[in-house]
Every structure is written in structure tokens, then in C-alpha cells.
Symmetry: C2
Subunit: 138 residues, 2 copies
């Protein structure tokens, strides 16, 4: 069973334009076509697109994802590169999570700041606060 480009777009919550763009950029060279040139997406193609979306979420640029796709079609000789890449992605995601946690602390502090200010009707009650205390975690 195969899917049309618009079906895949709907399934993955992106547009046909984007899928054609990914194809143009060499991210999905494995997608087959009808004799008249229309793309036919297999289930396995959709799985690959899910991995591509996952890599994008980690902040990986498209040209790097393309390199990974090329490694995939190069077979077992590129296993080490692909392993290294995922280890590096893992470290990157860990770093991003750490940064988000720090960011969250500041945002939560600001939520409290404005909650109390709203209750008081003025920001003045924070006149003596020291924002550094929160950013530096004192």
C-alpha cells in the first residue's frame, strides 16, 4: 500500500510543499514514482520521514540530515558514522534540556513576579528585588 504526497503531508502534519522541498534537498531519495512521475510513499518511507522529523527536532540542519540519509544508502561501511552521529545528537538534546530547565526557572520566577505584582496592583512591590539572585540561583 502506498500514499500520495498530500496523504503523507496530512499524516505527518506538514505540507506537500515541504515534502517536495525535502525531496529536492535529497532527504528522501528512496521515494518511488509512477511512470508519469508521481511520488508513491511506502510505509517505510514514512518511517524514515519520522526519523527526519526527529532529527529536525534535535536542531539538526537539513544538509546534515542529508548526509545521514546518504550514509544509510551506503550500507554497513557507514555504521560508525551513524552511531557517532546519534551519540552526538543525544548529547545535543541533553544540553538543550538543561538549557530549557534553566529557562524554565527564570520563566517561573517571572510568573510569580507578575502574579504578586498583579495582586498588589503595581510592580513597585518588587522595587527591592534582585533579579541576579534568581538567575544565579542564590
Amino acid at each position: 500500500m502506498t500514499y500520495s504526497i498530500s496523504e503523507v503531508a496530512k499524516k505527518l502534519n506538514l505540507t506537500s510543499y515541504t515534502l517536495r522541498y525535502y525531496d529536492k534537498e535529497g532527504l528522501i531519495p528512496f521515494v518511488e514514482r509512477t511512470p508519469s512521475g508521481i511520488r508513491l510513499f511506502k510505509e517505510s518511507d514514512i518511517d524514515f520521514l519520522k526519523i527526519i522529523q526527529c532529527l529536525k527536532t534535535t536542531g539538526m540542519p537539513i544538509k546534515d540530515i542529508k548526509e545521514f540519509i546518504e550514509w544509510c544508502s551506503d550500507g554497513d561501511s557507514t555504521l560508525q558514522q551513524r552511531y557517532d552521529m546519534f551519540i552526538e545528537r543525544k548529547a545535543s538534546v541533553e544540553a538543550q534540556m538543561e538549557e530549557l530547565k534553566k529557562t524554565m526557572k527564570v520563566i517561573e520566577h517571572k510568573c510569580m513576579y507578575y502574579k504578586t505584582a498583579l495582586e498588589a496592583g503595581t510592580e513597585d512591590i518588587h522595587k527591592n528585588d534582585n533579579i541576579e539572585d534568581f538567575i544565579t540561583n542564590k
Copy 2:
């Protein structure tokens, strides 16, 4: 005590170009100047820039940050908007963390996948795997 643009850039790990760009975009209208036009950053300006960096980390676009800055100079009448904004930022960061967690699971699975493939010398040992099982969390 004040700081020059390049000192602030160094402190915040960005460039003078970027700081001037932020100024041009209205993110730091409070930064004062010498009579000859040179920017003098106060400690409180740097604190504001840290909040701006924090908002950027949450994925907030610059024109939205600008709106927040405008609210700040509009005083207490905008407390509700600012509170709502931070609540919304909090939800956004929570969503991002959730997505990163899901992404992490897939990445970790791929790390294992390639680790075992490397040990076996070939990807073939995963011939019967079903990637869906991992993506759908089975």
C-alpha cells in the same frame, strides 16, 4: 558603572552586531548614550538582555519580545498582559520539554540500534525490528 557594547557582547556571549540589531529592532530602547552617540549599558540593561535571551530560548520571536519591552515601559497598566505572556511562555517551554523527551527516546533507541549493529558488523541483525514499536512506545 557602565559597559561598552563590546564588553556587553562578551559578557552575554553574542556580538556587537547582534546588540546593535536588537537596538534597531526596539528590544533595548532604554540603553543610554553619550552626547556623541555611544551606547552606555547599565547593569540593569544587562539584566534586561538576560531576560531577552531567556525569552529567545523559549522560541519567542523578536517582534513579540519587542511588544513585551513596550509593555514594560508602559508601566502597571500592562501587568496582566505581561503575566499572561509568561504563563504562555511557561506552557510553551513545558511542551518543548515534552517533545524533547519523546525525541530523546527515539535517539536513544537509535544509539542502541547502531551500537548492536556495529558489534555485529552489519545492520542486518535488525532486519526483523519494527521501528513503529518504538515510536508508538510499545
